[in-house]
């Protein structure tokens, strides 16, 4: 089995996991950049999570300012996220991650000044997928 087959399989597994276990919508597997149609180094999944996954601390303050009074939950609009499928047995380097970031358009980010963000999906042989945020650079830390 060649490496390209392998990464395509991984993308399919993560795709199904997002769809059936985590209820994501608008899922699609991208092999080419949506901007200039150049091939991506790895297939990337884009999709809409059921709830917002990441809120920048500055945005949080902004929302609190605009909803000062309400005790009701903040409506958080989910954003399209980019997911990079990987396998636990793979060896990744900073260089390979950087090439993935470089190939990504900065378009899906709502605030262009901020670093790009992907979700690293690492799959294990027992079909467990663990998801981690990854930023292209240093970001302001969030309170846990």
């Amino acid at each position: 089995m060649s490496v390209s087959d392998h990464v395509r399989q991984l993308a399919g597994s993560v795709f199904n996991n997002l769809k059936h276990q985590h209820d994501w919508t608008q899922l699609q597997i991208l092999t080419h950049s949506p901007l200039d149609n150049s091939p991506l180094p790895r297939p990337i999944i884009s999709g809409l999570p059921p709830r917002r996954l990441y809120l920048h601390p500055d945005d949080q303050i902004e929302i609190i300012r605009s909803h000062r009074s309400s005790g009701e939950p903040m409506e958080e609009k989910p954003e399209i996220e980019w997911v990079l499928p990987t396998h636990l047995a793979e060896k990744w380097t900073l260089k390979s991650f950087a090439s993935v970031f470089d190939s990504l358009p900065s378009e899906p980010s709502p605030t262009p000044g901020r670093p790009k963000r992907i979700i690293l999906a690492t799959i294990h042989d027992d079909s467990t997928v663990v998801y981690y945020f990854m930023h292209d650079g240093i970001v302001k830390p969030r309170q846990n």
């Binding site: 089995m1 059936h20 608008q26 303050i61 000062r68 005790g71 047995a89 294990h124 042989d125």
Partner: protein, 549 residues
């Protein structure tokens, strides 16, 4: 082969940990209850459902007590009855799995086998579930067809509550920061103009109080406390009098205008045609003001009462979400239903390969996925599983699987140059070791380790131990060749240990002594595995002031 299986499957039964965990030794009536069912019926306790620690049944003779001669009859009766009608030869049920080279695992599709492998030893994982294969039940609960507890839904609910808690906390902190900024921005009136503008006599002060409706406190203290003061209060030293002097006019022409500014819906109950003085009072002292909130641009107001209000408001903020949370969850759950069904529809239309789901009947698309180590343990050690090669459609022998799994465990897979320390052998030795000791071993990727050890199983308690598998090249031949184990930094160990400590698990370093390569590869798995040795070390952080005894 039969006697080796016997000796192996007896091991977990005699393990003290297992015996102490199960209330009674598994005797025949209990064993017969544990027949595999597709869906666990209601009303069975956990220990009944998960009575068997392995997918194999044993029929031990009851124990004989010399002090109680009657127990001899029990022994003889059991022995004779088993002689007359022998129990079925174990393994009585052999499950079938399909080798999937794409996912480097074995898939089990038969629902009965899936339940049996999960309930009897916690083997495998449902592909679309956290661990127990319950995707179908989750979908049924979501559609309202089934009323059951699903672990994933509890997780969703807990996360919603946590999120709300975090929002409240963030808002409280933000308000505290604003308040501190206000207090720091206030400057005492020191300039000549500001000092001259201060009230000159008791009479002035009385007038000021009357016009402002101050019940207590002087001007500066009220200013210092008011959290809704506009930010530019640096020149406020002159502000108190000048602004306050002009302030009585604000309500007189602005009573009607002020309620829209505040976001609350309850306007102060002021008589529309009352006197100016009355209006002022109604604004300042109305009990309904308590629920009013002020924007940053609102005029300053006496701070003391407002602070109390703030305290109340924040406490009510804490109370309201709790009361609301079921509603919130209900909302979010119900709102997620249409979106998911919509997603199913549109992906089904995209791919077309998915079975189309009708509203009443949900097709179970989930299967059980077994890792290489779990599969080989079930095939080789227990003999309760046969693995079918999808290419040939025939069952594969344990020897074939042994070679295949060793090849597959490399990334990318290799067919030549298999080493005695390949990832499959390394991890299988550890898996077999702890399974034989009666532990339930499951992958530990979520905690950044190789394996997790559960005492009875994940449904009973959290994992107690987290295992890191490390190869040890202790043989002379390895040393002569200068073979070193993979380099691990102190930071690596420390961070892993801290993660386990926060998850209340104990970190165990498992060293596997690798046999030298000159002994040559063997096709027989049992002979090959005998050459490996396992050593365990527990790592714990020691804090001098906490562990003083």
């Amino acid at each position: 082969m039969a006697d080796t299986i016997n000796s192996k499957f007896n091991l977990p039964q005699h393990d003290p940990a297992c015996a102490s965990a199960s209330a009674s030794p598994p005797n025949r009536p209990e064993v017969k209850q544990g027949a595999p069912k597709a869906i666990p019926p209601k009303g069975r306790s956990l220990s009944q459902t998960y009575a068997l620690p392995t997918p194999i049944r044993t029929y031990p003779l009851p124990s004989f007590y010399p002090s109680n001669p009657l127990s001899l009859f029990h022994v003889v009766y059991t022995w004779v009855s088993q002689l007359v009608s022998p129990p079925p030869v174990e393994p009585s049920v052999v499950h079938v799995g399909t080798w999937s080279p794409e996912t480097r695992s074995v898939h089990v599709h038969d629902p009965k086998s899936v339940r049996a492998l999960w309930e009897q030893g916690f083997f495998g994982k449902g592909v679309y579930s956290r661990s127990e294969p319950n995707w179908l039940r989750r979908e049924q609960v979501r559609k309202g067809n089934h009323d059951a507890h699903v672990a994933e839904n509890f997780t969703v609910q807990r996360r919603e509550e946590r999120k709300q808690m975090k929002w409240d906390r963030a808002r409280r902190e933000h308000e505290a920061i604003l308040k501190t900024r206000m207090e720091e921005a206030w400057v005492a009136p020191v300039g000549p103009a500001e000092l001259l503008a201060l009230p000159n006599s008791q009479k002035d002060l009385q007038q000021l109080r009357l016009s402002n409706g101050f019940a207590n406190g002087g001007v500066p203290s009220s200013l210092g406390h008011s959290p809704v003061q506009p930010n530019g209060s640096g020149h406020n030293g002159s502000g108190p009098v000048v602004e306050n002097g002009s302030r009585p006019r604000t309500p007189s022409n602005g009573v009607m205008a002020s309620p829209p500014k505040s976001s609350s819906t309850t306007p102060p109950p002021s008589e529309p045609n009352g006197t100016v003085l009355k209006r002022r009072k109604s604004v300042r002292f109305s009990p309904n003001v308590e629920s009013t909130t002020f924007g940053l641009s609102d005029p300053p107001s006496p701070g003391h009462g407002l602070q109390q209000l703030n305290g109340k408001a924040s406490s009510s903020n804490g109370a309201v979400p709790n009361g609301n949370s079921p509603l919130v969850n209900g909302k979010s759950l119900s709102s997620s239903t249409p979106s998911s069904s919509a997603s199913e529809e549109d992906t089904a239309s995209q791919t077309g390969s998915e079975p189309s789901t009708t509203t009443n009947e949900i097709v179970d698309i989930e299967h059980l996925q077994l890792t290489l180590e779990e599969t080989f343990y079930l095939v080789f050690a227990l003999g309760v599983l046969t693995v079918v090669n999808p290419a040939s459609g025939r069952a594969m022998s344990a020897e074939d699987l042994f070679t295949l799994f060793r090849q597959t465990s490399y990334f990318p897979p290799r067919t030549v140059d298999l080493q005695p320390d390949d990832p499959f052998l390394l991890h299988y030795v550890v898996y077999h070791h702890f399974r034989s000791l009666g532990w339930v071993v499951r992958p530990g990727i979520k905690f950044g380790v190789d394996w997790l050890l559960y005492n009875r199983g994940p449904v009973f308690a959290h994992a107690e131990f987290a295992l890191i598998v490390l190869p040890a090249y202790t043989a002379d031949e390895w040393k002569a060749a200068g073979r070193q184990p993979p380099r691990r930094s102190w930071h690596w160990l420390h961070s892993i240990n801290r993660v386990q400590a926060t998850a209340l698990k104990t970190l165990v370093l498992v060293y596997v002594d690798i046999p030298p390569p000159s002994e040559g590869p063997l096709l027989d798995p049992a002979a090959m595995l005998q050459r490996y040795h396992v050593r365990e070390f527990i790592v714990k952080r020691w804090l001098s002031n906490r562990n003083r005894g």
